[in-house]
Symmetry: C2
Subunit: 256 residues, 2 copies
């Protein structure tokens, strides 16, 4: 039984080929066409894994770009896929925090990969990767180096939650001579607080998996752990959770 | 009885000298120090009106910078001052919509200048002058020419409410070849909708005065009128409503 999960997010497309185990996975930039990104990553996945399209028994698409994929057997929301994938990566995980390029989600599961409740923000750039991107630009840094630059720094208080107002605040903190690493730490804390606040309605789990592009940022991870008073697990495969969940759900479909 | 009202907003400082009637008024950019802007505009007001500081019986400060003014007799919130000032400008006005550089307010009054209820947004840049500023920059236009550029244009739908996401949307609409005037009209509609939504909790009045820097934008005014199904009054003195209200409240103080 060979299945594929394709997760087309706003920034990156992810693909997983599953044959009982993870046989192949890919992460590629989405670019300006989610449709094309989905096609391309599927083709590349087949090429490098040596399978042909007819070998694949079922393809599930997820992520915000899933609606534009015409080669998939089924589209499933990223909430469902993330819960499933995170549970596969960390058995017993009952809370998934996903912070992507332009949204963030808190998912509470039953510890077996099924969704109990969730909170999602895709309307406001605060608390998403976009917030980090805007701040990185203001600081003339690359988003990928923010965590390293601010390691161990004492966070300065960023009082504005809004990305636009916080950007002006950051520029003015810089002008006041506040150390860049303290500003970056403050930015990470701001993201962590905003996302931690989302647990207010849905509650917290005990075993937390952190996924999405922002999960690679150690600074955000650290503050999130502090704000939630929970240990937080990030695995190398964390970014694949959605695509992996999609491929797992494809297997469930086939089994009936 | 000579009183002065000083309204230090995020973008501009306003001052009114009142002797029964409006004797002198000024609008100046706030710059980076609200404290200095308040001092400077007060001094300039005295200079050009020929009064000395000892001639002034009472000074009321308002606006977000009011807390940093040390020469005033009293600070009063801009909600109270705006209601009072708008009612002086338009007798019987029972609704004041104020859209400033970084906040927006809807104030419902008793028609005699006293506040019944209000809604305020100073947390999110959407629906404020800041939204217009970000979009003007993205369109490489000056904020002051937006209304003229989009006169009579059919607004394109801007689906993102968030300033950050809407900015990307505007850039991509431009790239798709959508006419700039239609995009600008869409931007004006977005601000009008966001502010009109604030009336949900507090209700609407019948006689509406539109104040604040954004009131000079005919496009926003037109869409606001459409969204609220109300005629909307903008006077040349609209931007002075807060400072005027402050000077009027100073007179009330003196009277007892
Ligand atoms: S608060 Fe700021 S970042 Fe959030 S929706 Fe409003 S404009 Fe966007």
């Amino acid at each position: 039984m060979v299945t594929v999960g394709i997760d087309v997010g706003s920034m990156t497309a992810k693909a997983v080929l599953l044959t009982g185990e993870i046989r192949q996975s890919l992460i590629r930039p989405t670019g300006c066409s989610p449709r094309q990104a989905g096609r391309d990553i599927f083709e590349e996945l087949l090429n490098i894994s040596g399978f042909s399209q007819s070998d694949i028994n079922y393809v599930v698409g997820t992520g915000y770009g899933r609606v534009s994929l015409d080669f998939i057997d089924r589209a499933i929301t990223e909430i469902t896929c993330h819960a499933k994938g995170a549970n596969y990566l960390v058995s017993g995980a009952d809370m998934v925090i996903d912070i992507g390029g332009q949204d963030s989600k808190v998912i509470i599961t039953d510890g077996r990969g099924n969704v109990n409740d969730f909170a999602m923000n895709d309307k406001c750039a605060a608390g998403t990767g976009r917030f980090l991107q805007v701040m990185a630009t203001a600081l003339e840094s690359d988003i990928s180096e923010l965590a390293e630059l601010s390691k161990g720094a004492d966070p300065v208080e960023i009082s504005n939650m809004c990305t636009v107002f916080a950007e002006s605040e950051v520029v003015s903190l810089l002008a006041q001579g506040v150390a860049k690493e303290r500003i970056i730490a403050g930015i990470h804390l701001s993201v962590a607080r905003r996302v931690a606040a989302m647990t207010g309605r849905v509650g917290k789990g005990n075993l937390v998996v952190f996924t999405g592009g922002v999960a690679r940022n150690e600074g955000v991870k650290g503050f999130l752990s502090r704000e939630l008073s929970r240990e937080i697990i990030v695995l190398p495969e964390s970014q694949l959770a959605g695509a992996l969940g999609a491929a797992l759900l494809a297997q469930e479909r086939l089994r009936g």
